[in-house]
């Protein structure tokens, strides 16, 4: 892995939801230490784009150049198991990703006092913090985040922004879809509205039934 290749390079990407293109011609790249915020109205395809980049669904066309084993994805839901304690939840992901320490993650997201509580007893915001702390535990440089600040209060949002900033300073990257201001002044912003797919022409009747 050489340092001068771009870790994430998206070229002319088109993504589909339910068999129909929602975004097309999306191109951007992300270099080390940078963050990119994706914006756009509800339903414009932010989540679909992120899931495609994370490899959960195939792209309609275009190219995604992503370093192998670099990415950690966090979706709408936290994947927190209510029956396990905070520590057990994080320990599990640390084992899955083959990393060892969960202490930094606990401190950064202010979860130390809660670490022996079953996750089911946490509030929505605390659960969200636990879900985000998972990202630190993965040890992956590229965070792909889908609406990470849902149900976080102002203080927790600031805490999250701080964690992202620290991550970027350490050479990490973040790709964030959000509709609120994260307070990350250094992040580039990409508005997805111009990339919305036009409805295909109706004169032919092809394999996509349009």
């Amino acid at each position: 892995m050489t340092l001068n290749t771009t870790p994430l390079q998206v070229e002319n990407l088109a993504v589909a939801r339910g068999g129909l293109a929602v975004l097309e011609g999306v191109s951007f790249s992300l270099s080390r230490g940078a963050a990119l915020v994706l914006r756009g109205p509800n339903g414009c395809g932010k989540t679909t784009l992120l899931r495609t980049i994370a490899g959960l669904q195939p792209a309609l066309s275009g190219h995604i150049g992503l370093e192998p084993d670099a990415m950690a994805y966090a979706g709408h839901s936290d994947g927190v198991k209510p029956a396990l304690t905070v520590t057990e939840n994080l320990r599990f992901w640390a084992d899955i990703f083959g990393t060892s320490t969960i202490e930094t993650a606990l401190t950064q997201f202010n979860l130390v006092a809660l670490k022996d509580r079953p996750a089911g007893t946490l509030s929505a915001g605390q659960k969200r913090r636990l879900g985000l702390a998972r990202l630190l535990v993965t040890g992956r440089p590229m965070w792909i985040l889908d609406e990470p600040t849902v149900s976080l209060d102002a203080a927790s949002t600031a805490m999250f922004a701080e964690a992202v900033r620290a991550h970027l300073q350490g050479g990490g990257m973040a790709l964030v879809a959000t509709h609120i201001d994260l307070g990350l002044a250094e992040a580039q912003v990409l508005d997805l509205t111009p990339f919305r797919a036009k409805a295909p022409a109706l004169d032919d009747f092809d394999e996509a039934f349009l």
């Binding site: 339910g18 068999g19 797919a197 409805a199 009747f205 092809d206 394999e207 039934f209 349009l210």
Partner: protein, 244 residues
């Protein structure tokens, strides 16, 4: 001649089958009426089975088509999984109810035949049991198609189910053989055996089989057309939503 894959274009498929369907339907009707009338009224009664043997003209072709329909679905599913032609997946979907109906016909005529011959409507004989299991597979396959909203997801899942189901259906066939030896007579037709049913019964039977095959093809063409149109309608509705 154009490659066979060019018919994977839904429009071309509909255009072509539109031209073929009338011919196919007439041929199917002619073969069925001809075969059944010949079989029912112009063949002698069997010396052992009497006139009940004549149900063979429905029973054997239906049983053949019940299996062949599943085979066709298997091939269509493989084509969909490998080449991603939507028409293929829709043809598999279209064939399933026809195949299930054929299975029901085979089971029902078998019961009607079995009653005078074996003195029972139903017997847990390997052949009968296998067909019952095949019917269950058809049911599951159709239920899965109708349960999933997204068309491509449904096509993928049912395709894989068809592959896995085929293996298990075959396994069940042998397991059932092991489990009970049965009293069903041997196959009525076979290519490798000299001994078939007598010629007087044989030719009308062949005609009936041809009729069932033609009927099956015609029904699958027709139902695939319907599926394509329904699919196009959903695609157009989705496109409308995109424009909002």
């Amino acid at each position: 001649m154009a490659s066979i894959w060019s018919y994977a274009n839904p429009k071309k498929f509909i255009d072509t089958t539109d031209r073929v369907l009338p011919v196919l339907s007439v041929l199917a009707l002619a073969a069925l009426v001809g075969g059944l009338v010949w079989g029912f009224f112009f063949t002698p009664d069997d010396y052992k089975q009497g006139s009940t043997v004549k149900i063979i003209y429905l029973h054997v072709p239906a049983a053949l088509m019940a299996i062949n329909a599943w085979m066709m679905m298997l091939v269509a599913s493989v084509v969909w999984i490998i080449r991603r032609h939507h028409v293929s997946a829709l043809a598999a979907r279209a064939a399933a109810p026809v195949g299930a109906m054929m299975t029901v016909i085979a089971l029902a005529t078998g019961a009607i035949w079995g009653q005078p011959m074996w003195g029972t409507w139903w017997e847990w004989d390997p052949r009968l049991t296998s067909f019952l299991i095949l019917f269950l597979f058809y049911l599951g396959y159709m239920a899965l198609w109708s349960a999933i909203e997204d068309d491509d997801t449904a096509a993928d899942l049912t395709g894989i189910l068809c592959l896995v189901g085929s293996v298990f259906a075959l396994l069940s066939r042998y397991a059932v053989n092991f489990w009970n030896q049965g009293l069903h007579q041997g196959a009525s037709l076979s290519l490798d055996k000299e001994e078939n049913v007598a010629d007087v019964f044989y030719y009308p039977l062949l005609l009936c089989i041809a009729g069932f095959v033609l009927l099956f093809v015609a029904l699958v063409f027709l139902r695939t057309q319907t599926e394509i149109r329904a699919r196009r309608m959903r695609a157009l509705l989705a496109r409308e939503r995109l424009n909002d």
